[in-house]
Symmetry: C2
Subunit: 143 residues, 2 copies
């Protein structure tokens, strides 16, 4: 029940790009250097963000990545959903992909749905701009 490095690094990339949101393309070398993360590994993560339309990329010299929206228009939830896959705590909630044969007799399903809702509501309410601002106290985000 842990968020992996993929999701955490993706947030760091998005925060980094929000802090260097000049309109220029930022090469991955710069991001990897600042964040002290392997550039090669970041490639695969940034690729997901790019394919999902969260980033624009430009190849070749002078190329790199930049945000496609304003930092306040990205929720933490959507970044994590793209990199981690669904945030559903159990696969049964990922309909219609997974249909559990026990669903009709399962006594825990509603509890899991409630947990899922609570998590998504919380993460939907926080933006990349909020994280980049870094003026937060614990609990500030609770809606």
């Amino acid at each position: 029940m842990k968020i992996s490095t993929r999701g955490r690094y993706a947030l760091r990339v998005m925060i980094d790009l929000a802090e260097h949101n000049s309109g220029d393309y930022i090469p991955l070398t710069d991001i990897a250097g600042r964040q002290e993360i392997s550039e090669k590994y970041l490639e695969s993560i940034v690729s997901m963000l790019s394919k999902s339309g969260f980033l624009m990329s430009l190849r070749g010299k002078g190329g790199g990545y930049r945000l496609t929206r304003l930092p306040e228009e990205y929720s933490v939830r959507e970044i994590l959903e793209v990199t981690e896959g669904s945030l559903a705590p159990i696969a049964c909630l990922e309909q219609p992909t997974n249909t559990c044969p026990r669903a009709s007799v399962c006594k825990s399903l509603d509890m899991w749905q409630g947990l899922y809702d609570v998590m998504r509501d919380y993460l939907s309410g926080i933006s990349i701009a909020d994280l980049a601002a870094d003026t937060m106290e614990p609990g500030n985000f609770i809606i």
Copy 2:
């Protein structure tokens, strides 16, 4: 970011024992049969619950397992914490076990702490008795 079968099966065992809470010891064969889960695999899960003091066990003929408290006195949170390990979404929150060197500069730490709090609060408010009752609608649990 998924709850594994360990945690889910543990809840089913606890619900099953709550529904057969006569004071007798219930053999694992009965539970495994009703729940249609491999008895051998359940052994390792029930062992955790027993070692944590959530269940009493009796070996030998006529033996089995039974609850040590009333069903309403077990929160879903504590059952999951014992079987899944900490529910913290990132290891950095498991202090003092893990101390991240980036903690002082991390822009996401407070956000993760907030997610952790939201999850724990929600799961603390639901008991095994609630699950066994099974009279719930989605959202009933939200505190």
